[in-house]
Amino acid sequence: MLRINNVTKSFPRVFEPVLKGINLSLREGEFCTVVGANGSGKSTLLKIISGEYRADSGEVKRNGDVSQVVQDVNKGTIPAMTVLENIVLSRTKTPRFAFYWRHLNDIIDKIRSLNIGLEKFIDQPLGILSGGQRQAIATLMAVNSGGKILLLDEHTSALDPKMQKMLMEYTARSVRELRLTTLMITHNMEDALKYGDRLIMMHSGRIVVDLKGCEKSGLKISSLLEMFHKFEDQNLAAIGTENVN
């Protein structure tokens, strides 16, 4: 479970608050996709949930550890370590004086579940893999780290369409099987509609659309894009008014 109560956040030298009283509650295993224009506060919200930023006011209640996948794969992995070492590192919460390759067979099974043949690179430095392959490993690391809350910040945005689809299928399957409470930021409206149980749209630091169940499943991509552009047009109009004044 994840509960966010009236969270606000401002940054120095930025006139408007980035988050203006966010309220959001996700039940255990709920998969929520987050859409919104650049600067709407999506990533800031995720950073507050992960503990990287502190909220100015309000509170965040988490029922377990948080694991996350960020857009920049270098931040979430260690390219100089092997694939095995990276995955072991993400799984080992209580280290022991034992050789880390005792996890080898288990980890090979996990990598096989990605279905992209990465198991043959298990003892190779992660840095030699392509961006997409590395992001797949980063997602596998986050999903299997034992955290109950999963945060995904545009984790498929830099990938080709085939790899994007594969990784989204893997993410959705893992979230369902492990009952991870998940918040996924994406700019891909199709993915936002296709995956997850819930969709929220953020605009200027607020949640302006919150769709669940039938509301979400019945929505067409054209309607979602229409909503998105409506808020963006409002924003542009507001900027225009400010400039005139």
């Binding site: 931040k75 260690i78 370590m81 070492e85 072991v88 590192l89 993400s90 022991r96 004086f97 880390y100």
Partner: protein, 280 residues
């Protein structure tokens, strides 16, 4: 170049390898530029010399020297972590302070150990074997440690500190541990050197950091540092090659007083070649 010079170079090179290992641990595994070698190495020598001259055995004097030098490493780590002083500056400050401490420990600028029973004999071959055994006793457990859960976390601290923090790894604990280990290795090298030379001089540490650093860079230029095994082999190989290069330079007629210039030139050459290789 005579066989005696080669063997002597091998003996010195093995001790230099211990220093290069001490430099490599914080530098490569913790991303911490530690400059305490200039202070911790003579501190180890001073403690060992005073312990031996007061009647202690080598078996007691060497661990004592290692612990004392290790504490210097811990102090560097604490200055960096608690006072937020730059790692290099913390090392320089500690090395400067250690000079006075060493003089206090010794009570005079040099201590002769000719009458004390040391670890080494007159046979260079036996001494080499003994240093190899000491080196193996230190480095094999470390190589094993790096392949455990704790070792993996230790390496993660230097490779991606933000990720390490996210994984709940204590940067402070691992930094203190790593710098203790490095300091202890400097102390070990210092205590072995004074027993080979049979005297301890307050100035033995001057420039030792550059020698160690040059060894590490030469080693990494030869075997690289892409894998753990290569990274661990680099200081040993580099120190042996570097020491033999010094031997060759001396046998070609270079004055001993010019060796420091030679050392600096070698270090600069390796840095230049590595940069050139990266750019191509």
């Amino acid at each position: 170049m005579s066989i005696d010079l080669i063997l002597s170079g091998l003996q010195q090179g093995l001790i230099l390898a211990i220093i290069a290992f001490g430099i490599m641990i914080p530098f490569r595994f913790l991303d911490f530029a530690d400059l305490t070698a200039d202070g911790a190495y003579p501190l180890g020598g001073a403690v060992c010399a005073v312990a031996l001259s007061s009647g202690m055995s080598s078996a007691t004097a060497i661990p004592l020297a290692m612990i004392c030098a290790g504490i210097v490493g811990v102090c560097t780590a604490l200055i960096y972590l608690k006072l937020r002083v730059n790692s290099m500056l913390a090392g320089i400050i500690l090395s400067t302070m250690a000079y006075s401490v060493n003089l206090r420990i010794m009570g005079k600028p040099n201590v002769a150990l000719f009458d004390c029973p040391g670890l080494f004999s007159a046979s260079v071959e036996c001494n080499i074997l003994l240093i190899v055994m000491v080196l193996a006793t230190c480095m094999i457990p470390f190589a094993v440690f790096l392949r455990t859960d704790f070792g993996l976390r230790f390496r993660a601290v230097g490779l991606n500190q933000n990720l390490a923090k996210l994984q709940g790894i204590s940067i402070e604990k691992y930094t203190i541990f790593g710098l203790f280990l490095a300091g202890a290795l400097f102390g070990l090298a210092g205590s072995l050197m004074v027993q080979i030379q049979n005297y301890m001089d307050i100035g033995i540490g001057i420039g030792i950091l550059i020698h160690g650093l040059a060894s590490l860079m030469i080693g990494e230029a030869i075997v690289g540092n892409a894998t753990l095994n290569r990274q661990l082999a680099a200081p040993l190989l580099g120190a042996l090659v570097y020491q033999q290069m010094q031997g060759i330079a001396l046998s070609l007629g270079l004055a001993p007083s010019d060796l420091k210039f030679f050392t600096g030139s070698i270090a600069l050459l390796v840095i230049f070649l590595k940069k050139k290789e990266k750019n191509t």
